[in-house]
């Protein structure tokens, strides 16, 4: 053991980088191993006609016919209606917490309950509260954990409906939303979460129904250490790209993420479904290479952001970090810089938003990495389901732009892209930037709101506000947590950003899927732009960059870029 340290002392920087790279390698290998079988399994889940017994029991109980399929407006009505009753029920559960068991005498005020209800039903998991102080176990389990499952399952359902839009011809049916939702929960999220929750307990994560344990330190001081049913929440929190911690410190808390092993397991969990869904696209459209292109583009962004963020945190420019010797403020000893930036990159590239280090304490450029990763629209690899439909919509934009350049009618995956399709795709893409920029602008224009809410001032203060609206409009949920968001203005506007950031793209994308499914198949001709090669991958990368850069460079220049150049 001691030998390692001496090696580290001789060449600390080199060892750090080599070990960090090896860790990235291990993660990539693990994802590569499961990619084909798991992606194939996901495709099977959503295409097989056989129902499981337990699913049939559920369908009987809720009185839906699992063998009838829905048109896109009905499918969308299901998604909206489910979101509405979810938010309502979660709001009520929180407000009635004093009457529920295991409440530990905690209660949740209305503004906070509204924001949290919206946050968890939209798969955002933005947290305007300190869990140890306001959340009891019943709300955490029967409220928040439920939404961690079903909001992720709904993301997958929408993604599958969109893929069906491409692979079906001359039909107005996109599938049955209740079947897709049930299968995603029962066949995918539940078994994997259960297995990994046990693994996490084995690694040291807490799983207690007590609120805390009293200890007397060696110095005689009395303390209460907060406890929670952490492991069950942690597994689905990562697997469903949710991100809401059962402790305030989120995955930096040792009871959520006790060591380097659990850290790698959690990063794997939050990436595995979004990554494997590109395989599912490939399988369902009958050409795995279509999925490889999407995955390739995702990987380019993820690698780029990881490189920038890691480098920036290893070479911080802020005076406090330089005085201290490194950027360890807001980072855990057991993770250090490489494992913290790997987590930060993965949590913002998926729409997870869990954190194992405090992004607000990152350097200018180091914080710009996660921020820009979200501003790309959560496509590298994006949230569970949302990532894959997000990048399919971007692919439509890319094909359309290419068609304009060469003057041909654009086609993608055997479907013509006419005015209708491109309009829906544009609405889907432009909702997020609108919410981010209007929300940030509004907050900054109200100094009474903003002034007292900032922990940091100047360029970094602007980044705190920009990060908040970026995180909520993209349904990510991570934060520059120095921003105090408990006033009514933030609770309501950030709540609105979450609702519209989630449901506008879903509605537009389902409408797009409906219009694609109604078309006949366009045969591939010599004039068809091949969408499986590096040329298209480059164009897709360019389209994503173009949308994000053109929209956000001015805002980024005032915040993180200004700080990075200071």
């Amino acid at each position: 053991m001691r030998a390692d340290v001496f090696v580290a002392a001789e060449a600390p920087v080199m060892t750090d980088i080599v070990a960090g790279l090896a860790q990235v390698g291990l993660l990539v290998v693990a994802l590569a191993v499961v990619y084909r079988p798991f992606g194939g399994y996901l495709a099977h889940v959503f295409t097989t006609e056989k129902h499981w017994r337990v699913e049939q029991a559920i369908y009987r109980l809720v009185r839906v016919n699992p063998d009838s399929e829905q048109r896109w407006p009905t499918y969308a009505a299901g998604v909206l209606g489910f979101g509405f009753v979810s938010a309502l029920l979660l709001y009520l559960i929180q407000r009635f917490q004093p009457l529920l068991p295991l409440n530990f005498g905690r209660s949740i005020p209305p503004g906070m309950a509204f924001n949290t209800a919206v946050s968890f039903t939209t798969n955002t998991n933005w947290q305007s509260y300190v869990p140890e102080q306001v959340m009891g176990d019943t709300v955490a389990m029967a409220g928040l954990t439920v939404q961690n499952f079903v909001s992720a399952a709904m993301g997958m359902a929408v993604a599958v409906a969109v893929i069906r839009g491409f692979v079906r011809f001359r039909t107005d049916r996109l599938g049955n939303v209740w079947v897709d939702l049930t299968r995603a929960t029962v066949r995918i999220l539940l078994p994997i979460s259960f297995a990994f929750a046990i693994v996490l307990v084995g690694l040291g994560a807490a799983m207690s129904l007590r609120s805390g344990v009293s200890v007397t330190g060696l110095d005689g001081a009395q303390h209460t250490i907060a406890l929670a049913p952490s492991a069950s929440e942690e597994a689905i929190k990562e697997l469903g790209t949710n991100g809401g911690g059962i402790f305030n410190a989120n995955s930096a808390h040792p009871f959520e993420n006790p060591n380097a092993w659990s850290n790698l397991v959690e990063i794997f969990l939050l990436l595995v479904i979004p990554v494997s869904l590109t395989r599912t696209v490939g399988v369902m459209v009958g050409n795995p290479r279509q999925g490889h292109v999407l995955l390739g583009v995702m990987a380019v962004f993820w690698t780029g952001i990881l490189t920038v963020t890691w480098w920036a945190e290893a070479h911080p420019n802020g005076p406090a970090a330089r005085l201290a010797g490194a950027a360890m403020e807001g980072k855990e000893t057991r993770f250090g810089i490489p494992s913290s930036t790997l987590f930060a990159t993965s949590t913002t590239g998926t729409s997870t938003g869990a954190v194992n280090s405090m992004h607000d304490s990152y350097s200018g450029l180091g914080g710009a990495g996660p921020l820009f990763h979200m501003l790309l629209g959560e496509i590298s690899p994006g949230g569970v389901g949302t990532g894959v439909y997000g990048i399919l919509v971007l692919a439509i934009i890319a094909v359309f732009l290419a068609g304009l350049m060469v003057g041909r009618t654009p086609e993608y995956l055997g479907k013509k892209l006419g005015r209708r399709e491109v309009t829906f795709a544009s609405i889907s893409i432009l909702a997020m930037p609108l919410l981010v920029l209007v929300g940030t602008g509004l907050a900054l224009a109200l100094p009474a709101v903003t002034g007292s809410s900032l922990t940091n001032s100047g360029a970094h203060g602007l980044s705190e506000v920009l990060y908040a609206y970026t995180s909520t409009a993209n349904n990510n949920g991570s934060a520059f947590a120095g921003l105090t968001v408990t006033n009514d203005f933030y609770q309501s506007t950030l709540g609105i950003a979450m609702v519209f950031g989630r449901f506008v793209p879903i509605l537009a994308t389902l409408a797009l899927a409906g219009s694609l499914a109604a078309q006949r198949k366009v045969p591939e001709t010599a004039g068809t732009l091949p969408t499986t090669g590096p040329l298209f991958a480059t164009m897709l990368t360019g389209a994503a960059l173009l949308v994000a850069a053109l929209t956000f460079v001015p805002a980024l220049a005032l915040g993180p870029i200004a700080e990075a150049l200071a």
Binding site: A77, L89, M207, H223, P254, N456
Partner: protein, 210 residues
Amino acid sequence: MILVRWFSSLVRQTGAGLRLLLVLTVVTGVLYPLAVWGVSRAPGLVGKAEGSVVRAGGRPVGSALIGVDLTAADPAHDPWFHTRPSASANDPLGPGDPSTSGGSNLAADNAKLVDLVRKRRAAIADREGVPEAAVPVDAVTASASGVDPDISPAYADLQVARVARVNGLPEQVVRQIVDGHVRGRVLGVLGEPAVNVLDLNLAVRQAVQH
């Protein structure tokens, strides 16, 4: 007309959605967490599930995973290995509150953080009797959790001489304790080398008692 039809289908779908939500609440919100909790009662798991509490002399003295700084009765004779600073502490150094958690969220260009780092460096250099430049980074920066159980091997090394002196132990003994508790990277690549502070303090106390 189309909107009216869609609205009635919205109502119908919402009803189905509510029924499914209630069923899934039972499955994922009650059965699932309770099943995990049930399995976590197994011997070998239950200790971890209940917070990895460490006992000394039969009394719970802390958690193996939670770092709470110890306070010396007489600061001039400080016998403890110290944890990293905590954002929940009242002073630049000093014990945090493990009933809550979180980081400072201070940015690297924040004058408040510059000031904190400067104060911590001076205080630690003074406590250990070393030049300020010898104080490692983790000693002067607050962790993300506020309850980081670990410190770097460098910060442990820095405290060896004082801990040995105040506890009346040969420096060699305390150095061996530190060396024996340094954890390398998992598999040689995951995470960072670290030392658990509670383990160190328990081992030192045991050495004193023998």
